[in-house]
């Protein structure tokens, strides 16, 4: 296989660029070249505009922690990920694309259930759900699609219980979320999916106001909407964000993580035989680093001139921070392309960095720790029932993964 590396001396390469054939877990070769030769450089995105691409681990952390950048998607110069995300930013505003102090005010309304103590209390329920799904998988026909039978239902069931969303509606929210995270969906498709989810959550909040239960949506309705702190629409959009982000990301980590482990049997054996929860927790961090499923770059815009990596990012310039290649930075992680479950990977940036770092990360950690320590232990003969190169990878997704994962045992 021959690869043509880009000439990094000229301005504005296309972003994103494709992964190399046969390397489904590795970031695109073009990003490697940029990280080595010009870690802060201009790239051209889908709409023809240019933005700064940041590829080093230390620069990513410095920049995402810098108050001179904005996450406000309505600012001129903001480099949208796709036509769909651009269109959706006009109709939907969540704290994900706002700056402090408004961002902090809204985010803090929903942090409580994700505190470590609260998610630890969910661990037994996550374990039961995991075991039930594995029981059903083993009782069903083989080969089976691990995504549909396990990876997608597990986090969906967990986030549904936390938010107070009826799981029987999973087809509706999973289907619309798939559209929202697809880079190739049209603006109309994305906006329609967004509206369908917002209306669904709005209806649900109305039910919760009348019949409160012990869940996050009920608390949002009672403590924020009824008090006038949030409009119904804001609360519904917040619900959409939590519901979508709460299942799609973890589902991809479960399926893609399983594939990566099946392709690295020595590492799979290490995890399967692990009895120390610390070993499992460390393995989760390494899989988060190695896979970095948020592979489309985190988007920002500069509020002031910022000097970084020998370049000057001007006020108003768009910025894309590429966590997938930052997590393969040899300066931060020796031998970065090796999946090594025993390394200390805690400084990875798979959840982002700065004030927008993933809100649900404690829950994701508990889910992944339970899943990875249970699935291969209970199905030690788990194997792929398809050719790796023929698998449908989510190359066009804002979040990476596999659409399906045929397995047998």
């Amino acid at each position: 296989m021959t690869e043509t590396l880009p000439d990094t001396s000229t301005a504005a390469h296309e972003y994103p660029s494709p992964r190399a054939a046969g390397c489904p877990f590795d970031p695109p070769p073009a990003l490697r070249a940029l990280q080595a030769e010009r870690p802060v450089s201009r790239v051209r995105i889908w709409d023809g505009s240019t933005a700064w691409l940041v590829t080093r681990h230390d620069q990513m952390r410095a920049l995402l922690g810098d108050p001179r950048i904005s996450a406000d998607a309505t600012r001129p110069g903001y480099p949208h990920s796709s036509p769909g995300t651009q269109a959706s930013s006009r109709v939907r505003r969540t704290f994900l694309v706002m700056d402090d102090p408004e961002h902090a005010r809204l985010r803090r309304m929903v942090t409580a259930p994700f505190a470590i103590r609260k998610v630890e209390a969910l661990r037994p329920a996550v374990q039961r759900t995991t075991d039930d799904l594995i029981d059903a998988l083993l009782a069903g026909p083989k080969p089976a699609d691990l995504v549909e039978a396990f990876a997608l239902p597990l986090p969906s069931l967990v986030i549904c219980a936390l938010l107070g969303v009826p799981y029987e509606d999973h087809d509706l929210f999973q289907r619309n979320t798939r559209v929202i995270v697809s880079r190739s969906a049209t603006p109309e498709e994305v906006v329609t999916a967004q509206q369908a989810l917002t209306e669904y959550l709005d209806d649900l909040l109305t039910v919760k106001r009348a019949h409160p239960a012990d869940d996050l949506l009920s608390r949002l309705a009672a403590e924020r909407v009824n008090t006038g702190e949030l409009t119904r629409r804001e609360a519904a959009q917040m619900g959409v964000l939590l519901l979508s982000a709460g299942h799609e990301t973890t589902a991809n980590m479960i399926a893609l993580g399983t594939l990566a482990l099946l392709e690295n049997p020595d590492q799979l054996a290490l995890l399967r035989d692990a009895e120390d929860p610390k070993v499992v927790a460390g393995a989760v961090e390494e899989l988060l680093r190695y896979l970095t499923i948020v592979h489309s770059g985190r988007r920002r815009v500069a509020l002031e001139d910022i000097e970084i990596g020998g370049e000057v990012i001007r006020a108003g310039d768009g910025i894309i921070v590429a966590g997938d290649i930052a997590n393969r930075d040899p300066e931060a992680f020796p031998d970065p392309d090796r999946l090594d479950l025993t390394r200390d990977a805690r400084r990875h940036v798979a959840f982002g960095f700065g004030v927008h770092q993933c809100l649900g990360q404690p829950l994701a950690r508990v889910e992944l720790q339970v899943v990875y320590s249970t699935l291969y232990h209970r199905i030690p003969t788990l194997q792929l029932a398809a050719d790796v190169d023929g698998l449908p990878f989510k190359h066009d997704g804002l979040i990476y993964g596999v659409h399906e994962l045929p397995v047998t045992w």
């Binding site: 902090a104 985010r107 700065g354």
Partner: protein, 64 residues
């Protein structure tokens, strides 16, 4: 070693609690709370890790 936390900056990622559970806790909203502002020497590594992984730079070490 003395540790200071800046609660208004905290974004409730919970990582300090995972890195040094004897030193950091969270309130009902997930915001950082100190359990020990003068941690024992065997907790210093955990505290340094917490400082490094805090996404919001809400933890500071003060030399005394």
């Amino acid at each position: 070693m003395r540790v200071e936390v800046d609660q208004p900056r905290c974004v409730a990622s919970g990582q300090c609690v995972l890195a040094a559970p004897e030193v950091f806790d969270q309130d009902d909203d997930g915001i950082v709370e100190m359990l020990a502002d003068h941690p024992e020497p065997d907790q210093h590594d955990g505290v340094r890790e917490a400082v490094a992984i805090c996404p919001a730079a809400a933890i500071r070490l003060v030399r005394e």
